[in-house]
Symmetry: C2
Subunit: 157 residues, 2 copies
């Protein structure tokens, strides 16, 4: 069977994501944050006050998807959105004090999950795996994939 679904790169990636997402979600559960939300808050803290677009790009997310995803976080007061005075179309995202506090609270939980992941899978291996995955998220890979589509006549896009 040349089209065995168990060999589909996308399917395998998705399955791994579901499982690992589960493990991290469980670890963070006591804080009330999902792993996704924790990741976004941490990314915002690291970036300072990114615009929607900047954060979306960093997180490899669709702009509209990010817009939806941020709602629970702004609703709960962890993030604040304010129009950029330089360009009033843009909205700058900032971590509130409550958000900072929450990140302080989740630090242990997240670290625990991360440590367990590295302990069980192996640090070297974990680093190598993430390295490979980052290549997949690079714009270069995306471009090459689409270019291959043109060459192989499988769909340009």
């Amino acid at each position: 069977m040349t089209n065995d679904p168990s060999t589909c790169s996308n399917a395998v990636l998705r399955q791994a994501m579901r499982r690992i997402g589960q493990l991290y979600d469980d670890a963070l559960a006591p804080s009330g944050l999902r792993a996704t939300q924790h990741g976004l808050l941490a990314t915002v803290r690291k970036m300072g006050s990114p615009t929607m677009r900047e954060l979306a790009e960093r997180a490899v997310m669709d702009l509209s998807g990010l817009s939806h995803t941020l709602k629970p976080l702004t609703r709960d007061g962890y993030l604040r959105l304010a129009p950029d005075p330089r360009d009033r179309r843009a909205r700058r995202i900032t971590l509130t004090e409550k958000g900072e506090a929450k990140l302080g609270e989740t630090a242990q939980l997240w670290r625990g999950a991360q440590d367990r992941f590295e302990a069980v899978f192996g640090m070297e291996r974990a680093v190598a795996l993430k390295s490979e995955l980052r290549i997949l998220t690079s714009p270069e890979f995306q471009d090459a994939f689409n270019a291959a589509g043109a060459e192989m006549g499988t769909g340009t896009r």
Copy 2:
């Protein structure tokens, strides 16, 4: 920064999944199926007539999540659910003729994406990556992760 979000295994996995999911979705777009849906149909075909639970396990999905996800597919006539005569609690999932036909239609599209992925990332590398990811989805990994939680006092569950 020991809690750099860019090193979070979960975040990196998710980002890769979003990107690759996008590429496969685009490739399958002409068929009207999402990559996820295509994967489910193909898995059902491969399994025969699995019950909800069996399919959920194979797909590393939550049973309720699967229940919701199958709705568009049954609604559109690609799949049919029928109670198992042996155990009327269980429901067997079968691919309809329309579903078979659709899979025939998507075969080329999926193969194209898969080929491009392998061509761009490298066949060896793709195989190795999937191998690593499959380990993450194994029950053994999950158990080890949770066991580590108990030992490291980070959260038993």
